[in-house]
């Protein structure tokens, strides 16, 4: 039975099949919501799944002048990192499979590796759109990473721990969104930047550089990157809901809170025109500053008001 437990945890729940399915379902919810906001129908429920299945069954074209090991390995790395990150997240409100003091930092950086491998995949190919996309992905990574991390550390500081499960438990009694609204907004927008959702989709702006770093990807590689993104979406939403939205105690609060966040996320996606990459970078400078201000306030009040 000792062996069975980690196998289930890795392949079925919470990582593995469950989080993949959940990710695809949330991708669909996101697309459907954006469609609804734009007064159109949107895809049917199985569309993301069908896309992935179709891509998996297709021939993977490896372009010339690339390192084939990197080309094949990077999507795997991205998905592996995203799935590992899921092990640390309190999915469905259950205790995370892996947990230790400081796992918040590990999780955030695992999520960053997903983006890094995306950028590497782009710079690995000789395609011009991919190269520009890779440069933009990295630029965007550097600009949102700091504020996103700072925004997640805000609740960590008031909870007095850098362990996700502890913060989650602490947040169960405190709606940190009320005391740290700036942090919440920046965390949410940071997640959009991380996932390259509109309006922060300059790295894959289709009207300029087709699909950015992933232009040369087809078939399996593309499918794996998409899966990694959808897992990233679930993990990101879980973290924000756990930290800012009164914690996640059970499956009902999990779905309720993440879906409400998704509703807001989809709304934000449909309200703005795309930022140019240098505009994105500028935006995040202000975000970091605002967060530092909030930190000073928290430090001064010493978390007593909480």
């Amino acid at each position: 039975m000792d062996i069975l437990q980690p196998i289930i945890a890795l392949f079925f729940f919470p990582a593995g099949l469950f989080v993949l399915g959940n990710g695809l379902a949330y991708m669909w919810v996101d697309r459907k919501l954006v469609a609804q906001y734009q007064n159109r129908i949107g895809p049917r429920w199985f569309q993301p799944l069908a896309d992935v299945m179709k891509l998996l069954s297709k021939e993977e074209i490896i372009p010339e002048n690339v390192d084939p090991r990197l080309f094949i390995g990077l999507p795997l790395l991205a998905l592996a990192c995203a799935l590992t990150a899921a092990l640390y997240a309190p999915l469905l409100g259950f205790q995370p499979v892996l947990s230790f003091e400081g796992d918040l930092i590990v999780t955030v950086y695992l999520l960053s590796v997903v983006t890094m491998s995306l950028a590497l995949a782009g710079s690995n190919t000789a395609d011009r759109f991919s190269l520009i996309g890779a440069v933009r992905t990295l630029t965007q990574l550097f600009s949102y990473e700091a504020p996103f991390l700072l925004a997640l550390l805000g609740p960590a500081i008031v909870a007095g721990s850098w362990q996700i499960s502890t913060i989650n438990a602490f947040a169960g009694n405190h709606w940190i969104v009320l005391t740290q609204p700036i942090g919440f907004v920046i965390a949410l927008i940071g997640l959009m930047g991380k996932l390259e959702l509109p309006p922060f989709d300059a790295p894959e702006a289709e009207t300029e550089i087709v699909k950015g770093a992933l232009t040369e990807y087809s078939g399996r590689g593309l499918a794996l990157f998409q899966l990694a993104k959808s897992v990233e979406l679930v993990v990101g939403l879980t973290l924000i809901a756990a930290f800012y939205f009164g914690g996640i105690a059970n499956p009902i609060t999990f779905f309720l809170k993440t879906l409400i966040l998704l509703l807001v996320l989809a709304g934000l996606q449909s309200l703005f025109a795309r930022f140019r990459i240098e505009q994105t970078a500028r935006w995040w400078r202000y975000a970091s500053l605002l967060l530092l201000v909030q930190w000073v306030i928290i430090a001064v009040l010493g978390g007593k008001t909480l």
Partner: protein
């Protein structure tokens, strides 16, 4: 209400509670407007065989085949796949023999066969078909009028 940012906020929020505008076309259809220019229809009763319709057809979609001019026996071979649906033939016809249907406009098909349509009396169409038999002519779809 003018916001400096998110100018579409009202539309977006309202849409959340509205039905999507998208028409689910093959499942829900609304009737075509009266003037829609669909497939060409020919009424042989009044036709004098002047061929004005085929002369000005920009895409050579109309062939008027005379069997017996005196008896006013004509067959019209109409190529719906060449037709540009401009209705110049309708405009040209002085005897109101032609009109464009506003009901028959879903013309997609998997082969080219259904796009060649013969109009005329059954026996006349048969004569034409017999003439063309042997050659690789497509199976026609006779239309009785």
């Amino acid at each position: 209400m003018k916001l400096p940012i998110a100018g579409m906020l009202r539309d977006v929020v309202e849409s959340l509670f509205k039905r999507p505008m998208t028409e689910k076309y093959p499942f829900e259809k609304h009737p075509a407007p009266e003037r829609l220019r669909g497939e060409l229809m020919w009424n042989p009763e009044k036709c004098t065989g002047c061929c004005l319709c085929s002369k000005d057809c920009p895409s050579n979609a109309i062939e008027l085949i005379t069997i017996d001019k005196k008896a006013k026996r004509f067959v019209m071979e109409y190529h719906a796949d060449r037709c540009t649906y401009c209705a110049q033939c309708v405009q040209n016809c002085r005897f109101d023999c032609l009109n464009m249907s506003n009901t028959q406009w879903e013309l997609a098909a998997l082969s080219r066969k259904p796009f060649t349509v013969y109009y005329g009396k059954d026996e006349d169409v048969q004569i034409i078909l017999d003439k063309q038999a042997g050659a690789k002519t497509p199976q026609p779809k006779p239309v009785t009028t």
